[in-house]
């Protein structure tokens, strides 16, 4: 072991080859959601996945997010072959590798912003004292240092989405997976959130944005488009 291969050729954060996902295979209701998708995403990229509804976009996102397993093909998430993992191992992979941001924020209403942000740390067995400190840092990094004690209902939509982003960042995952993060926000607030993603990219995070909106996708460095279960590269940088 003189030289690590990764030093010369960096391992992509996401390495998808010939990925297929078929629902209700062999029946009349068979749906081929993904029909052989290839996708490589390098660390530090800001990628947008576009496509109309029913194009297989959500299926791809679920697979990238390790919420689902493919019918065929391979997916290496930060070097780990997802096909080999059971439900518990997939949960650990999500915890360590993926930070989710949802269209509907998905904050727990009875918890303060700080508690919401710290919540994933419990599953990583981080000691309680360290949890609070890390959650404060994460909140500060999205510009909400003074909102830790507020309940989600006491925050604006944009602030709630920032809390959700802080929660996604809390375990320092290599991949930030955002599903229509601006879908529930007005355009001005949406711009702020997208600016935040850009800043996170500059800090070294890999950001994957799933959207149907070309204007939103335009903020990304690279755009791919799902169409009828196949992925097409758009334009180039």
């Amino acid at each position: 072991m003189t030289a690590l291969p990764s030093a010369a050729v960096p391992v992509p954060v996401i390495d998808i080859r010939g990925l297929r996902k078929v629902y209700a295979a062999g029946t009349q209701a068979e749906v081929i959601a993904l029909d052989g998708v290839d996708l490589r995403v390098e660390a530090g990229e800001f990628l947008a996945i576009m496509g109309p509804s029913g194009s297989g976009k959500s299926t791809l996102m679920n697979l990238i997010g390790c919420l689902d397993t493919p019918t065929a093909g391979s997916y290496r998430c930060d070097g780990m072959d997802v096909a080999l993992l059971d439900a518990e191992a997939l949960a650990r992979l999500r915890r360590d590798k993926i930070g989710f941001v949802f269209q509907g924020f998905h904050l727990l209403p009875r918890m303060s912003a700080l508690e919401n942000v710290a919540m994933p740390l419990g599953y990583a067995r981080v000691p309680p004292a360290e949890r609070e400190q890390r959650a404060r840092q994460a909140l500060a990094s999205v510009g909400l240092a003074d909102r830790g004690g507020h309940r989600p209902s006491e925050l604006s939509g944009g602030q709630q989405q920032r809390v959700a982003i802080a929660r996604a960042l809390i375990n320092a995952p290599p991949i930030l997976l955002a599903d229509e993060p601006t879908g529930a926000l007005d355009s001005r607030t949406g711009e702020e959130i997208l600016a935040l993603f850009k800043r996170l990219r500059e800090d070294g995070h890999t950001v994957i944005l799933i959207t149907h909106d070309a204007e939103v996708a335009a903020h990304a460095d690279r755009i791919v488009v799902m169409r009828d279960g196949l992925l097409h590269e758009e334009g180039g940088p």
């Binding site: 919420l67 949960a91 915890r95 360590d96 949802f102 998905h106 009875r110 599953y123 067995r125």
Partner: protein, 412 residues
């Protein structure tokens, strides 16, 4: 690597606090069930302790002979005269012929009105032979008791139980005074040291004693009694180990005296204390079974209530479950979280149930004549029952939650 125990408990408490009224109502079944468990077990233990005490104490040296509730030829219940099958002669012959017997006394009993001046009360009387006092553990508090001539000559003398003395004489001992039993005047020859409440809850001191022959002539009235009849013969043996042997000897002696042929039924019954206790145990067992049924039904209903509310909770919080799965909770974490909530509901119900049960058991001990024994074992058992209920009925909803598809759950 999953959530720590303290995190699981904290999360469960947090979840229950969000719906504390519902949680409290849900635990009601467990509360009642566990309270019933406490009362049941403490009564059961109390009875066992009392039996142990009775059997190991003086009681195990004692036999009681009563006229048999035997049936005559053809199965017809024998006439009233068969109630007097025992006689003073039987008692004397037991004393003379069975050397292992220490004390023997035949007795008669009845009810009467005791009157002194303007005070009176209805009480029960015992017509006794001299050994009666020692066999039954009575001692004199005051006075000289009966002379031998009182027994032989049917002297009109009486010894008063504490309750009777207090009612008739207040602070005074009453020794030497004349009281009337019915219409017959008696001289008070002594008072008995109080015994207090008996094992069956009755006032043992509400009694008067007169010599056997006095009772027969003055208190029994003109009933068709065979000569020398007694209603009961009590005896003690010198050594408790001889009890079974003496019981056999007494039975064969009496069969011989009563001319009962082989194969015919006895016209008397010899019982030792454990048989008397057995009757007692049967009553307590019945109550235990009843409470056990109540406890079981309540715990099952309570458990189903917990299962129901947990299933509702899983459905209500499907988004939360989806989110937790997305941020790294494994199926095991989710299952443990919901299991912890179910167990917490039933444990809280258990704690309240234990408190109510302890109060209930003490009340039962006060109000009824059932013996009650409360200790850590009772409480521990009840706590274990409540946790087991939560575990058993919480498992299915928890498993259901853990098997949710995170994609489906997030889409809700």
């Amino acid at each position: 690597m999953s959530m720590t125990f303290s995190d699981i408990v904290r999360t469960a408490i947090f979840a229950l606090r969000g719906n504390w009224m519902r949680s409290a109502l849900t635990s009601l079944g467990v509360i009642i069930g566990i309270a019933a468990v406490i009362v049941m077990v403490s009564v059961g233990q109390g009875t066992q302790q009392e039996i142990d005490k009775l059997v190991s104490g003086l009681g195990s040296q004692r036999l009681d002979i009563s006229p048999g509730a035997g049936r005559g030829p053809g199965g017809a219940r024998q006439s009233a005269s068969s109630f007097y099958t025992l006689t003073v002669g039987d008692a004397e012959s037991i004393r003379d012929e069975i050397p292992e017997v220490q004390y023997v006394a035949g007795s008669l009993r009845g009810n009467t009105q005791a009157v002194f001046a303007e005070n009176n009360l209805s009480t029960s009387w015992q017509g006794v032979q001299p050994d009666y006092f020692v066999i039954n553990g009575w001692t004199l508090a005051d006075g000289d008791g009966f002379d031998p001539q009182d027994y032989t000559g049917a002297g009109k003398v009486v010894i008063l139980g504490e309750t009777v003395r207090r009612t008739l004489f207040g602070e005074d001992s009453g020794i030497g005074q004349t009281v009337r039993l019915g219409r017959v005047p008696f001289t008070v020859a002594g008072t008995l040291a109080p015994k207090g409440q008996g094992g069956f809850g009755q006032d043992q001191d509400d009694v008067v004693m007169v010599p056997l022959e006095t009772a027969r002539r003055r208190l029994m009235g003109a009933m068709g009694m065979p000569a020398g009849a007694v209603m009961q013969i009590a005896l003690t043996v010198t050594d408790a180990r001889n009890l079974d042997y003496v019981q056999g000897e007494v039975e064969s002696l009496l069969r011989q005296r009563h001319r009962i042929g082989p194969g015919d039924e006895d016209d008397f019954r010899v019982r030792n204390i454990s048989e008397i206790v057995a009757t007692r145990t049967a009553t307590t067992n019945l109550m235990s079974k009843l409470l056990g049924a109540v406890a079981t039904i309540c715990l099952v209903i309570g458990g189903i209530g917990i299962m129901n509310i947990m299933l509702v909770s899983v459905t209500e919080r499907i988004k939360e479950i989806g989110l937790r799965l997305a941020v790294g909770a494994g199926p095991t974490d989710v299952r443990r979280q919901f299991l912890a909530e179910a167990m917490l509901i039933s444990l809280i119900g258990g704690v309240i149930g234990i408190a109510i049960g302890v109060v209930g058991a003490l009340l039962v001990g006060q109000v009824s004549d059932l013996p009650v024994a409360l200790n850590g074992r009772v409480v521990g058992l009840a706590a274990a029952f409540s946790i087991a209920t939560g575990l058993f009925f919480g498992y299915y909803p928890a498993r259901k939650a853990s098997q949710l598809d995170p994609i489906e759950a997030l889409r809700q």
